[in-house]
């Protein structure tokens, strides 16, 4: 641990993040970017958490951890969400402490002293080359926890093939008999079995808890047979089976016989929504649907997939459509019931399920496999940590939070994110994480930007690199280094012969054999050779670009060379490891790969990024709870905010909200927020104002605002570094039913409850109708209506217990702890009747009395219910004007008309356009606490940019030659991110002066090169992947393998 200097000891510009799953990784990254030091503490040997075990995310069935941040060009980052966690590219502000637990926390917000205990890994991360020799010789076999016991691992093991830190670990449990085989075989002497635990003490200003969750242990429910019947598995095991990095590379097989099952049943709510666990685990409906679709895709559409489910809870963007797809396109069967009994057919291993249909019919069905959709439990360490940290847990054992401060624990300065505060999925966890980071930045606002770093280079670094040497006038002088990697490369590849061959290649002036090119002392040797020999191009034939390119780029850069004047050849993972039985051919391939690299590096040119200053101010569009929350978080952290609201007053939907299910007073939140915003010296409020123009890029946007005043309008222009879109959404009010007297929306009912309680107390029959959408509008779950309806239903029952309240619903979506209000409503006598789209309820007006006709599934007949009033849960629709604003900001909208984030799971508060962020209901309908978290997340992301001051844009991007471009628009259609624009500006007139030329904004380009491959005029070149570098015509590098001279030949 670094000794902290005196200044920091008084006010540590450091933070502690507990938990290395996606939540912890996200939070640490935002804090590190904001210039705070982060200790990322993880109790297992590597980062990744649960997500590392998931092959696919619903609803897009992608892995895309590589899309967790805006970084590009690094390749696969799994199991982490950012290249900032790749070993040799690690963020200089993040210190990862694995195998570490918290012992004690002293002090107060802004100045904590945390004692930690790090258990020994027994392997030196810096010296482990992942050669795997220790694993080969280790005599101890144990079930692999990563594969959930479905395969074995050794006691000397790597948690997964891809791990962060990328190193082995020795599990020195009681089964290890200290034989020392691993120690003696380790070629780099990286193993020390006598390593002792370390006690550490760190000074931090704030703490974020990202502990995650524990999967419910379904063996507790003995009647389900998990643990007794081999073909009853729990969902995480299924995830491994279906994952392409799982034991079967993604082919689901039965544990009993290894056969592919022809029928699979999913049992929902295992350890959720029952007497013992009265909350909803929020994610199981979706993941079970994903697993069922995967079964169809992997094993064939003929596989019979049945899901036994109580309610279909698909309450996020595109989730409703996902359920429809599962049902309609894949034929997945959803049965609305719980299974009462499972029996095994001993002969076949099949399982016989007994269940009752909604209309009471008892059925029995046979399945070849049963998956238990196990719920989420508080993390194992929750109780212990709560005691040590002095924070409170709620009645379910999750972290106690307040509705209006959802990311704060009961101890000031200690924040929470992810499933530790309530069961939630990846998206919500990421939102929480960036939000918690924003809370920390607010708290430590005077210490932001303390620990400087730079993204100037293709690797993350501190600002202490020497000046770059200008090599533009020089003839290429290539040095080739080849690594033996102990013997792991050289036992197959004859390195001296390879170098001899390389020495005959054009422009090669120096060849060197190195052992362990990744060791620090070798870096010095390489740098020295570059300087001594006047080298201006470097080829390092060693190991993976993915893991080590950053290291070698850093070395080359530290020798004064531009890091793009380097080629790395993977002789290890992609040659010697995979051709052990074909030594001659492997050598031929190695020589050919080096030849290619030399050819390519000769064609390489220095690449630099453009340096920009980030203006220290933000524009927040929308003055509702989200907009105000974002504005306050940014302003409190010391940056100016323009808060734009088109109506005359701040508050948005909060103005119409009088009480919430949890019992808090939203009007108080409204008053507090407005007062704070109005009084804040850093917030400039623009009401009656709209954005009419928005241009520029991250760090420097220019926006024109138009304010209506007394019949005329004024325009002003503002400049700002970031933009937050928080334009909200609202309850729709169009439906033919609303034309009936006494039919009203839930929001109108709430107004009545508050302003005319006497009318409400007089009601005898109320029929509430859920899921009402205006005719012709898209069908999606509006997420908040069920809880809102139940809140009002409970209120009616409290006013008049004899009032008959009936709720007609399709699915009750009271996820998380909201389930308790559903239970409460039923306890108070609210009647819930399910309806389907085939038989929608009808309103009938007869002799001045309203009736609702509804088809009751359990009775299988139509009922006619009298109704004094009929409150409708109208869908929540995107704000009007989204279309225009989205075009102005050049950000997309989703099919529902909400804003489309950069990546559904991992970047829910980002847009693909850097510097523009998304907050609150503009993204999708949300509860207040969710809007607050989302707004904080947007603020956190914004702050991580604002606090950087200097931004580097461009690098490996596509460049258009306007003299060749004919303005044909092909690139504009091809780009996956809609970045190229054909514009007529300055000298960009295009060939023949027609229609302008394409322009690709370097601040936006993602560097994929998709446009370059399509451009009919070859007018676009991708930097560092130019035609010259790709086609290698000089050396004919793409085709025939060359004669390989042999030493002494």
């Amino acid at each position: 641990m670094k000794t902290l200097n005196r200044n920091y000891q008084i006010e540590p510009a450091a933070t502690l993040v507990v938990g290395g799953g996606i939540g912890g990784m996200r939070a640490a990254l935002d804090l590190a970017d904001a210039g705070l030091k982060v200790y990322l503490v993880e109790q297992t040997p590597c980062l990744g958490g649960r997500v590392a075990q998931l092959g696919y995310m619903f609803p897009q069935h992608d892995c895309v951890l590589c899309r967790g941040t805006a970084d590009h060009g690094y390749g696969c980052t799994r199991p982490s969400i950012s290249p900032a966690y790749i070993q040799h590219n690690q963020h200089p502000n993040i210190e990862i402490l694995t195998n570490t637990n918290i012992l004690e926390v002293e002090g107060q917000a802004g100045d904590f002293t945390v004692s930690l205990r790090q258990e020994p890994r027994y392997v030196d991360i810096d010296r482990c080359t992942s050669c795997g020799k220790c694993e080969e010789v280790c005599p101890v076999e144990l079930p692999s926890s990563y594969q959930l016991g479905m395969t074995n691992r050794k006691a000397a093991y790597k948690v997964a093939a891809r791990a962060t830190p990328d190193s082995y670990v020795i599990d020195k449990g009681p089964y290890c008999d200290d034989c020392g085989e691993c120690v003696s075989i380790c070629p780099t002497e990286a193993i020390d079995l006598s390593e002792q635990p370390r006690l550490l003490s760190v000074e931090v200003g704030a703490i974020i808890l990202a502990l995650g969750f524990k999967v419910y242990d379904s063996t507790e429910l003995q009647e389900l047979g998990h643990g007794r019947y081999p073909n009853v598995i729990q969902a995480m095991q299924y995830e491994r089976l279906a994952s392409r990095s799982g034991p079967t590379e993604g082919i689901v097989t039965r544990p009993s016989d290894g056969n592919q099952p022809k029928s699979i049943a999913w049992l929902q709510c295992i350890g959720s929504r029952d007497q013992k666990n009265p909350f909803c685990s929020s994610i199981c409906c979706m993941y079970a649907t994903k697993e069922a679709i995967l079964a169809k895709q992997r094993l064939g559409e003929q596989v019979d997939c049945s899901v036994f489910i109580m309610d279909e809870r698909a309450f996020n963007k595109e989730y409703s459509a996902y359920f429809s797809k599962a049902r309609d396109s894949h034929g997945i069967q959803y049965n609305h019931c719980r299974v009462s009994e499972i029996k095994e057919d001993r002969e076949t291993g099949d399982l016989i399920l007994k269940y009752a249909t909604p209309n009471g019919e008892l059925l029995e069905d046979r399945f070849e496999m049963v998956v238990l959709a196990t719920g989420l439990q508080p993390p194992e360490s929750a109780r212990y940590l709560a005691d040590n940290l002095g924070i409170e847990l709620n009645q379910y054992g999750f972290c106690q939070t307040d509705k209006f401060t959802p990311l704060q624990t009961t101890r000031p300065g200690v924040f929470v994110c992810g499933a530790f505060s309530s069961p939630k999925e990846i998206v919500e966890t990421i939102i929480d994480a960036s939000g918690a980071a924003a809370e920390v930045m607010r708290l430590l606002n005077d210490r932001l930007h303390t620990h400087e770093f730079t993204r100037e280079n293709p690797f993350l670094a501190t600002n202490d690199l020497p000046l770059e040497r200008d090599v533009s006038g020089e003839e290429p002088r290539v040095a080739v280094f080849a690594c033996t990697c102990g013997e792991t490369i050289s036992e197959v590849i004859d390195i001296p012969a390879l170098l001899h061959t390389a020495s005959h290649l054009p422009k090669v002036v120096s060849v060197d054999m190195i052992e362990y090119s990744c060791f620090p002392e070798v870096q010095g040797h390489i740098a020295q050779r570059i300087q001594e020999e006047g080298i201006n191009r470097v080829v390092i034939a060693a190991c993976s670009n993915r893991t080590h390119e950053s290291l070698f780029q850093r070395t080359v850069r530290s020798a004064g060379l531009n890091p793009y004047l380097l080629e790395v050849v993977n002789l290890r993972e992609q040659c010697s490891f995979v051709h052990q039985e074909q030594v001659p051919l492997a050598n031929r391939k190695a020589a050919e790969m080096v030849r290619l690299a030399v050819g390519r590096v000769i064609a390489s040119r220095p690449v630099t990024k453009d340096k920009h200053t980030c203006l220290p101010s933000a524009l927040v569009i929308g003055g509702g709870v989200s907009g105000m929350t974002s504005a306050l978080a940014i302003a409190d952290s010391g940056y100016d905010v323009h808060l734009v609201e088109r109506s005359q007053s701040l508050g948005g939907n909060l103005r119409n909200l009088y009480y919430v299910a949890e019992g808090y007073n939203p009007q108080r939140l409204l008053r507090d927020q407005i007062n704070r915003v109005r009084a804040h010296t850093r917030i400039m409020v623009h009401t009656r104002t709209e954005v009419v123009n928005h241009s520029g890029h991250v760090g420097h946007f220019v926006t024109e605002l138009q304010t209506r005043r007394n019949g005329h309008s004024d325009s002003i222009q503002i400049e700002h570094g970031v933009t937050i879109v928080a334009t909200g959404a609202q309850e729709t009010k169009q439906h033919s039913l609303l034309e009936f007297p006494k039919v009203l929306t839930q929001q109108e009912l709430e107004e009545k409850i508050i302003h005319h309680p006497e009318d409400i107390a007089a009601l005898n029959d109320v029929v509430m109708l859920q899921c009402v959408t205006p005719e012709g509008s898209p069908d999606y779950c509006s997420r908040i209506c069920c809880t809102n309806t139940i809140k009002n239903a409970i209120r009616l029952k409290l006013f008049n217990p004899s009032c008959q309240v009936t709720v007609l619903y399709k699915n009750i979506v009271t996820y998380g702890f909201r389930e308790e209000y559903y239970t409460e409503a039923r306890r108070l006598g609210v009647v819930f009747i399910r309806y389907t789209d085939e038989n929608p309820p009808e309103a009938v007006l007869r002799e001045n009395q309203l009736f609702v006709r509804v088809h009751d599934i359990s009775l299988d007949r139509w009922l006619e219910l009298p109704a004094d009033i009929i409150p409708l849960s109208m869908s929540i629709a995107p704000a009007s004007g989204n279309e225009e604003l989205s075009q102005m900001l050049r950000v997309p909208l989703s099919s529902e008309g909400f804003y489309q984030e950069a990546q559904m799971k991992l970047r829910p508060m980002d847009f693909m356009r850097d510097g523009i962020f998304l907050a609150g209901m503009a993204h999708y309908p949300k509860f207040i606490e969710e809007s607050i978290s989302h707004a904080l997340a947007a603020a956190g992301r914004a702050l991580s940019l604002l606090s950087q001051e200097t931004l580097y844009l461009g690098g490996v991007i596509a460049e258009v030659d306007p003299d060749i471009c004919v303005g044909c628009l092909t690139c504009t259609r091809t780009c996956p991110f809609e970045i190229p624009q054909v514009i007529e500006e300055g000298d960009r007139v295009g060939v023949g002066g027609l229609g302008g030329a394409a322009f690709i904004d370097p601040a936006l380009c993602q560097g994929c090169g998709t446009c370059t491959g399509e451009c009919p005029a070859n007018a676009i070149q991708l930097i560092h992947y130019t035609d010259e570098q790709m086609m290698l015509k000089e050396i004919a590098g793409l085709g025939t393998w060359k004669d390989i001279p042999i030493a002494g030949d």
Binding site: M593, G1013, Y1025
Partner: protein
């Protein structure tokens, strides 16, 4: 055009383009797991298979590659959203051209796989190598000379195939 040599003496020379995301990762996974595959393929990195350019594919054949293929992220899983679909569309156009000029589209192929699929990666190499071995050398390449089978016992072992000058 060229008199084909007996197939056993022919070592295919295949060029594979892979993206730095799933494609590269799959190759690394195969390495990390020690999954063996033929050493007849050299790899060229691209930032995304959306970069696949018909000119690059044809250039490889023109320069003498016996076979060419592209390794991409699974459809729907592309780091750049749909670069791999664009790449596939271009590769299919290149296949048509290969058919038209008589080289045959079967010398050009595309594979989609996730980064963890070590065996799928190895299978793609095996599949292409076997196919090209069957098809024989690229007829655009110069005349071939028979070579002895590679020997294993030598210290500096390689006795690769040589092209006859001219």
């Amino acid at each position: 055009m060229t008199a084909h040599q007996p197939k056993h003496s022919f070592e295919p020379e295949i060029t594979a383009f892979y993206c730095i995301y799933c494609g590269y990762m799959a190759a690394d996974s195969a390495g990390a797991m020690g999954v063996q595959y033929p050493a007849n393929v050299k790899f060229v990195r691209m930032p995304c298979t959306g970069k696949t350019d018909i000119r690059y594919l044809l250039e490889a054949f023109e320069q003498g590659a016996d076979g060419v293929y592209v390794v991409a992220c699974p459809i729907g899983n592309c780091h750049h959203v749909r670069g791999n679909e664009r790449g596939l569309a271009r590769l299919e156009r290149a296949q048509k051209i290969l058919d038209e000029i008589g080289l045959g589209s079967e010398r050009l192929e595309m594979f989609f796989m996730s980064g963890g699929q070590a065996h799928t990666f190895a299978d793609s190499v095996k599949k292409m190598t076997a196919r090209i071995r069957e098809l024989g050398p690229n007829p655009l390449k110069g005349e071939l000379k028979p070579v002895a089978a590679p020997e294993l016992e030598d210290e500096v072992v390689f006795r690769g195939r040589r092209l006859t000058p001219g």
